[in-house]
Symmetry: C2
Subunit: 278 residues, 2 copies
C-alpha cells in the first residue's frame, strides 16, 4: 500500500510555479471576492492569499458585506473582467442565500474563470475539450494520479457524489482519460456492490461511509471528504486505517486531495495569466 | 416483454405539437443549414423539413456548397441569430472536413440552438440545470421512458458510447433523474460484466454488439444504433430477436429511438419559439 501524498506533491507543484513566476517581469494576479462573514470561507480565502504570496502571485481579496445585492456582486465581477491587471477571478462559495450563485458565476469571463465553473468551461469539459481552466479539485485529483504514474485508461472508476464542482466534472475528466466511469449518489441502491467493482474509488460525500468491506483488493482510493469530528480532528469519507489494508494507493485526510486543490488553483492562475499574455 | 414503440409515441407528440401550433397566429420557424452533398444528410434534412410542414412549423433549408469556408458558415449563422423571424437553427452534421464543427456550433445563439449542442446548453446539462434545449436524441429517450411510466430513479443505467450528442448528455440526464449511471466505451474492459448489472441498458455505438448473454433479466434496453446491413435492412446495436427474450422493455430499430429524436426536435423548435415570444 502506498500513500498518495498530496501535501508533498502539492508543494512540488507550487515550487515549480514559483520558479516560473520568478522569471516573469509582470506577475499573475488573482482576485478573490468574499461576500459576508462565513468563518470557513475566511480561512479558505486566507490560505489562498498566503499561497499566492509565497509563489510571487499578486492577490487581492475584495470583501463585500453580507447584504450585498446580486446586482452589486455582478457589477464587481464585471469590473474585474474589464480590469486588464486581473488575470483570475474567484468568487468564494457559498454565497449568502439571497444571491443566485449560478447567475453570478455566469458573469465571470471564461478566460478569467480560475475555478472552471462557468457554463462555457464546464461545457468544454462535457465535450471533452480543453477549457480555459478545469475545476480545481478534479484537476488536482487527476494530477495526483498522473504524477504518481497511475494508469487511468481501461480502469473502472466509481465516483460517489455528483456535485457540479467535484463529482460530475471529475467523472467526465476520468472518462476523457478512458476510464469506464460509474456515477453514484444518495439515491444509489446497493452502493457496496458497485464500489466493490471499482479499480479507482473516489468518495466526495462529506459523510463517513467507506469501510474496508466496500473496497476491492488493490483499489486506488481517493478521499475528497473533509469532516471535522467530535474531537476537532479532520477526517475524510474513508475509514483510512482499515481501508489502507486493502487499497493499493490511498489519499490521507488531511494531506491528500486538499493540498492538490490549492496547487491546481495556483496552476490555473498561472496558466490563465500566460493565455492572456501570449 | 413490451416493445417501446417510438413510432407511435413520436406521432402522438407530433400531433400534440400540431394542435398547439394551430392555435398560434405567428408560427415557429426552423432554419436548417446543410453544407455540401452528403446523401445521408440530405435525407435527414428532408425528413425534418417534411415533419415541420405537417406540424404547421415554417422551415427553411439553406444549402451551401461543399467549399463553403468556416467564416462564410459563421456569417450565415450570425445572420440567422439576428433574424427575429427565425426561432431555431440547426446545422446539419457532419460538416465538410475543412470546417471546425465546434467553432461553428459555438456561433449559434443558445436560445436558438435547437440541437442543444452549444457550450452554454451542454454546460447547463452538466450543472443539472434546464438548458434552452436538450440534445434531441437523449431528450427523445428520456421522453420515451417517462411516457411509458418507466421509473428511472434508483436504477442502474449503463450507457455504451460517449459521444457529445448522445452518450455524455444522456448519462448526465439519467443522473439528474437519480439513476446510478455507468459510462462505457471502446476502451471499457469486461463490458459484459458491466452490462449484466444494468437495469437500463442504452447502446449507442453503431456496431452490432448486444447479445442476449449481456443483458440482465427484465432489463430495459434502448437501442440508439442505426446500421444498414448487407441486405439493405436497418438494424441496431442490439440483436433484437434474442434480447427481447430477456428484456422487460426494448426499443425496435427502426421505430424506436429514431422517431423520438425527430419528435424531440419538433418539441425543441416549438419551445424555443414560445421562449422567444413570451
Amino acid at each position: 500500500m502506498q500513500i498518495l501524498d498530496g501535501k508533498t506533491l502539492g508543494k512540488e507543484i507550487q515550487e515549480e510555479i514559483r520558479l516560473e513566476v520568478e522569471k516573469l517581469s509582470k506577475k499573475p494576479h488573482l482576485a478573490v471576492i468574499l461576500v459576508g462573514d462565513n468563518p470557513a470561507s475566511k480561512i479558505y480565502v486566507n490560505t489562498k492569499n498566503k499561497t499566492c504570496e509565497r509563489l510571487g502571485i499578486n492577490s487581492t481579496v475584495i470583501t463585500l458585506p453580507e447584504n450585498t445585492t446580486e446586482d452589486e456582486l455582478k457589477l464587481k465581477i464585471k469590473t474585474l473582467n474589464e480590469d486588464s491587471d486581473v488575470n483570475a477571478i474567484l468568487v468564494q462559495l457559498p454565497l449568502p442565500e439571497h444571491i443566485n450563485t449560478a447567475n453570478c458565476i455566469k458573469e465571470i469571463s471564461p478566460i478569467k474563470d480560475v475555478d472552471g465553473f462557468t457554463p462555457e468551461n464546464l461545457g468544454a469539459v462535457i465535450c471533452g475539450k480543453q477549457p480555459y481552466a478545469y475545476p480545481c479539485t478534479p484537476f488536482g485529483i487527476i494530477t495526483l494520479l498522473k504524477r504518481n504514474n497511475i494508469e487511468i485508461s481501461g480502469k473502472h472508476a466509481v465516483v460517489i457524489g455528483r456535485s457540479n464542482i467535484v463529482g460530475k466534472p471529475l467523472s467526465l475528466m476520468l472518462l476523457k482519460e478512458n476510464a469506464t466511469v460509474t456515477m453514484c449518489h444518495s439515491k444509489t441502491k446497493n452502493l457496496k456492490e458497485i464500489t466493490k467493482t471499482a479499480d479507482i474509488l473516489v468518495s466526495a460525500t462529506g459523510n463517513r461511509i467507506i469501510t474496508k468491506d466496500m473496497v476491492k483488493k488493490d483499489a486506488i482510493v481517493i478521499d475528497v471528504g473533509i469532516i471535522r469530528n467530535k474531537e476537532g480532528k479532520l477526517e475524510g469519507d474513508v475509514y483510512f486505517d482499515e481501508v489502507k489494508e486493502v487499497a493499493s494507493y490511498i489519499t490521507p485526510v488531511p494531506g491528500g486531495v486538499g493540498p492538490m486543490t490549492i496547487a491546481a488553483l495556483m496552476k490555473n492562475t498561472f496558466e490563465l495569466f500566460l493565455m492572456q499574455n501570449k
